[in-house]
Symmetry: C2
Subunit: 224 residues, 2 copies
Amino acid sequence: MKKIEFIRNILEANEIIARRNQQLLDRHKVFAINIMSSPGAGKTSLIQQTLTRLKGRLSIAVVEGDVASTVDAEKVQSDAKAVIQINTRNMPESCSLMAAMIESALKDIPLDDIDLLLIENVGNLICPSEFILGEHKRVVISSLPEGDDKPIKYPLIFIDADAVIINKVDLLPHVDFDIDAFRHSVAGLHPETEIFELSCKTGEGVDRWCSWILAQVKSYATKQ
Amino acid sequence: MKKIEFIRNILEANEIIARRNQQLLDRHKVFAINIMSSPGAGKTSLIQQTLTRLKGRLSIAVVEGDVASTVDAEKVQSDAKAVIQINTRNMPESCSLMAAMIESALKDIPLDDIDLLLIENVGNLICPSEFILGEHKRVVISSLPEGDDKPIKYPLIFIDADAVIINKVDLLPHVDFDIDAFRHSVAGLHPETEIFELSCKTGEGVDRWCSWILAQVKSYATKQ
């Protein structure tokens, strides 16, 4: 079928560029994390918290992916070594970042001056699961108000996640969300996934997430 | 450019089928609403509330669009005249319903026995904005925990919305959401959009939404 073949070509081309991105990052010893979620689940808040808490310990650059606007880039600007905004609105594939967009962003990032690249993908639980970008780890955020059935409804993005963050735990008394059921669904898709329960609003649980990042970056640096 | 041309062909083909769907619906005097939102914003809950409150006044069928699972179809089954589940997981375009999927679903719906078709699109603020399905009205749900910046970040889906629902207003004391700022952004994109503030959990505000539907169906029926 013509269309399926065409999509396969896009995915293959994306993988080639993603591999090239990772080689470039590895040459400069930059660890990269692709952060994905629904709109409003807390990607930007998590990046803000991470930047604040790891200040002085890691030098961090951020790529902000959005259909439109620069509001997220403005929010993280003060604490990041560099921030690149990508707007996908007029691109043929607007529902996800793609490796070619990251390749272009990497040209404007001082790779020798950073240890970590945080990539905030477009708010979407479907498209980003199809496109690797060259990242070393993939993280999915689910927030309590979205409900605990997201791994069942959007399995692909959870199957490939190295870590899953349950955000907005401060809302637990006010919403229906069964954390055990959610953990069980995630484990059923990918048993090795690390799961973090936290609130970017209150800060609860964010230290454990930051410790995980530090450990990941350290382990990566010793391997290079 | 080859890819853009290819996408244009998909959109054109989709529009032709959507127009055919609407003609079929009009022949049977069925009013159709396409309901779109982020994952977990409350599409299924809104449909459940609508079915319960309009029972005995309108005969309603539901199409449930999801990447995977049948959990939503099961939730609405008891009060709908017919429920059709569409899973987009293995389809070339998995991030939105498309007109061809609705065309196929309409074959299994007793069109002469219903007044209203509620179509729950795939949870996504990007792809569904590109594909009309044959619906008469387009509705977008935004929920408070997602934040008030969604119209700025995902303008396309709001530009074409006939109605926008602000759901989960019961969470207002616990989240940062500026309802006036949100209303202002929506009005900036499409001044005629009807805006409803409600909570599918407490039921607050749902009656106004149901009255709007009744008025829409009545006005449609007199025109046919």
